[in-house]
């Protein structure tokens, strides 16, 4: 009797699967017709974490900057081809000695509450971010400004001590904040962080803690009106739940992973009909970094050997299902900063063994590489990130093949930073850096940036690289700069303080009711023109009929 019951339960669970695998029979809407652009509708996306603080200079988490980016403007921005373009500033001029930049603001700018936006606000923002009491990690770039002034309401003028090449880049990422609201507030702890007043296309509509943040079109926006009336970001921590919501038509935009892109979508006709996929080169790369202060990683031969021993193509194929590129300099492939003459270390295990033997390692009877009686043994640590974890597993396998004893430890971010990175108590990390648009990488590679909590935690130090990084910061001539950073990349590749693993594609799934997305994605990515996206009326979600 009981066996029957168990069997029955088994069948019940199986049947859930079978039902769930059966085809969706809802009516088919044709999303592929041509539609005229029109204002209105709500776009819903999902994010894993709640934004903590909409003042971007304080927040530092990606959820916050994503939302804040729709509310605030900077002086200038990048256009779709990653050239500088006007944002609040209409034009900018660089003085002959290359030390002074003068921004001219657009006329008639105003905040969402109707107050005028002037150069006084810009000056105020600069003072705020350079104020030592402000808790921001981004101050150092702006502290290089020796003098800032707002001679008239439309002019903002800054002078640097020495010429500073990344200057424009830093001004393209600084959100200008309203002086009239914040002048008497403590920026570190103010209501403004959850109730901001900005100047961009959208303004905050409603924020339900832990559930959703919704923005609506800012009718006072001087940049014009966006076409989508409301942007709603739902907070859904679990990515599998997010994906279920996407397939159930409840959210319009989400980032997906390679398996969803390569395997799930091709297998699901019903999804293909209503969801479009976009692929663009992402903004970051993943690397394996050595603790250069620790033997044997202070030996360049060991680093190079391990570089030869790792099959990057296998990692890209296995972890990213081919949705990534291998790189050989810390810049986006295809941009001018990327040195086209460099190529990654090929997979060559015998060369790797040769180099390791040169460095004094010999295989013992168990096939483990030994030097002075000690095995070549280390631990790869990485944070809780599925792709990085899988990458570490693939690498471990390859290194074990040539006789290196590798273990893996996956740690959540806070412990990772505090116990290992800040203390320098690690062997090898698998981590990522962003592929910045400005080539300056002083913070990451200059030998002076090794203090606890600073970015050169690997302990990289090379006099030539130091010199190039210092030069590159001062050089404003683009082709000379290009030359400098090409040289820098070459040193970096030779020294192999990190092994470039891959630059993964950013994969997005967007519901087909959203129109106006540029495909193929421009260099700046599909989200770059999201104010031009629109939702044709017949395709909009019926909002009131809450299921």
């Amino acid at each position: 009797m009981k066996k029957n019951f168990l069997f029955f339960n088994f069948i019940f669970i199986l049947s859930i699967f079978i039902i769930s695998c059966s085809k969706d029979t809802s009516e088919v809407i044709n999303y592929n017709e041509e539609y005229k652009n029109i204002f209105g509708g709500s776009l819903i996306n999902a994010m894993a974490g709640e934004p903590s603080n909409l003042i971007a200079m304080i927040a530092g988490d990606s959820a916050s900057s994503a939302i804040a980016g729709n509310i605030f403007n900077s002086l200038i921005k990048y256009d779709e081809n990653l050239n500088y373009a006007p944002d609040l500033a209409e034009s900018w001029a660089i003085s002959n000695n290359q030390k002074t930049i003068t921004f001219k603001l657009k006329k008639g700018l105003q905040w969402a509450d109707g107050n005028p936006l002037t150069s006084a606000d810009v000056l105020f923002t600069w003072k705020l971010i350079t104020n030592p009491d402000t808790r921001t990690p981004y101050a150092s770039d702006y502290q290089l400004v020796k003098k800032a002034s707002a001679p008239d309401p439309l002019t903002f003028k800054i002078t640097y001590e020495t010429s500073y090449a990344p200057a424009l880049d830093t001004w393209s990422s600084l959100h200008i904040l309203p002086k009239h609201i914040l002048k008497d507030e403590d920026i570190n702890n103010t209501f403004f962080s959850r109730k901001p007043t900005g100047s961009s296309y959208y303004k905050l509509d409603d924020w339900i803690s832990g559930q959703q943040v919704s923005l609506k079109a800012n009718e006072k926006s001087v940049l014009g009106s966006p076409l989508i009336e409301k942007l709603i970001s739902r907070i859904i921590p679990d990515t599998s739940s997010q994906f279920l919501e996407l397939t159930a038509d409840n959210i319009d935009v989400m980032n997906i992973n390679p398996i969803q892109y390569q395997r799930v979508f091709p297998a699901r006709k019903d999804l293909q009909q209503k969801v479009a996929l976009y692929k663009e080169l992402g903004n970051g790369y993943t690397y394996l970094g050595f603790n250069l202060k620790k033997p044997p990683f202070n030996d360049i031969r060991v680093r190079q050997a391990l570089n030869y021993a790792i099959d990057k193509d296998e990692v890209i194929k296995g972890v990213l299902l081919g949705l990534g590129e291998s790189i050989s300099s810390p810049y986006k492939p295809g941009t001018r900063w990327n040195n086209p003459n460099l190529s990654p270390y090929p997979y060559n295990p015998s060369k790797a063994l040769e180099l390791l033997q040169e460095a004094g390692f010999k295989k013992n009877n168990d096939g483990i590489l030994m030097k002075n009686g000690k095995p070549l043994k280390f631990e790869i640590i990485t944070n809780q990130n599925k792709q990085r974890e899988m990458t570490a597993v693939v690498i471990q396998k390859r290194l074990q093949e040539i006789g290196v004893d590798v273990s893996i430890r996956v740690i959540e971010w806070a412990s990772f930073v505090n116990r290992f990175i800040k203390t320098g108590d690690f062997d090898v990390v698998v981590l990522g850096w962003s592929l910045s648009l400005d080539p300056d990488q002083y913070n990451i590679w200059h030998s002076s940036q090794q203090g606890p909590g600073q970015f050169n935690f690997l302990g990289y130090s090379n006099k030539n690289v130091d010199r190039l990084l210092e030069l590159g910061r001062k050089e404003l001539n683009v082709s000379k700069r290009e030359e400098i950073y090409h040289k820098f990349s070459k040193y970096l590749l030779e020294d192999s303080p990190i092994i470039y693993l891959y630059a993964g594609y950013g994969l997005s799934a967007v519901h087909k009711r959203v129109k106006g997305i540029k495909n193929p994605a421009p260099p700046a990515g599909i989200y770059h023109n999201n104010y031009d996206w629109f939702l044709p009326k017949p395709l909009r979600r019926n909002e009131i009929s809450a299921r």
Binding site: S240, T247, M390
Partner: protein, 272 residues
């Protein structure tokens, strides 16, 4: 054994547990592949003759990983409960035997531990100590001894007044030998039952920790890990979540049936 036959639920629990135990023990012999063998040309293959339970996101054979995962899941259960039982028996014996202030001190401590949400405790400790299979087992053990303590204490309370115990005491046997020779053997039933049930919970806690990314470290396979990997593709690669899900379900069920069955069987009230 006859009594087992009379209690079909307990019997099926026993069979389940024995089967899984055997499978875990012979895993190296029957597993068709190395559980960590990566094959990037066979990523997410559905179940077939070659891969009985399909392959995972790195082309590893799920069936082999399940077999090795059984070892881990069982190990976590046994060691965690071993620790909990050990602590529980010692503290419970002390409280039940000496009573008085020893008892009230220990019972206050039990009350305190009971009023802090256990899973919170486990989470905080594991996150702070960095997850590893040993930390997980120790922490689960250290946060689940309260039940056993109470049981042993209650059992001792009732046993202490029995004549044979009083006799042993007047004959001058030392306390330790009274506890070990007379009291513990007679309180074995509830200890065994609660241990068996405890293993069931430990297996579930391990899968929960894996879900939160605080479980056993990669590349080691545990059922919780495999299930967590699979949840992402529940609509597509169903085999990645079905098999570990069912394995956890059946195992925990087996422990529960066995535990409850043992309670019935060993309970003197049920003896005719």
């Amino acid at each position: 054994m006859k009594i087992f036959l009379k209690n079909p639920l307990a019997l099926s629990g026993l069979i389940i547990i024995l089967t899984i135990l055997i499978l875990a023990l012979v895993a190296p012999i029957i597993a068709p592949y190395d559980p960590n063998f990566i094959d990037i040309n066979s990523i997410l293959f559905p179940p077939s003759i070659n891969h009985l339970m399909g392959t995972d996101g790195l082309g590893r054979d799920v069936f082999s990983r399940m077999l090795y995962g059984a070892q881990i899941s069982l190990l976590v259960g046994f060691v965690a409960v071993g620790i909990a039982t050990f602590i529980g028996v010692i503290l419970g014996s002390l409280a039940g035997f000496y009573r008085g202030w020893v008892d009230s001190l220990i019972m206050r401590f039990v009350d305190i531990m009971l009023s802090i949400p256990t899973f919170f405790l486990i989470l905080a400790v594991i996150a702070f100590l960095t997850p590893s299979i040993w930390n997980i087992m120790i922490v689960i053990g250290l946060t689940s001894w309260m039940g056993v303590t109470r049981l042993v204490r209650a059992e001792f309370f009732s046993l202490r007044q029995r004549e044979y115990v009083l006799a042993a005491e007047t004959m001058g046997s030392n306390h330790l030998s009274i506890i070990i020779k007379h009291l513990l053997p007679n309180s074995l039933t509830p200890i065994i039952v609660s241990s068996v049930l405890g293993i069931a919970s430990a297996v579930l806690v391990e899968s929960g920790l894996s879900f939160l990314g605080l479980g056993v470290q990669a590349p080691t396979a545990s059922w919780g890990n495999i299930l967590t990997d699979g949840k992402e593709y529940i609509q597509f690669a169903w085999w990645l979540s079905l098999f570990p899900g069912l394995a956890i379900l059946i195992t925990v069920l087996g422990y529960n049936l066995l535990g409850e069955g043992l309670r019935d069987i060993l309970d003197p009230k049920n003896k005719i």
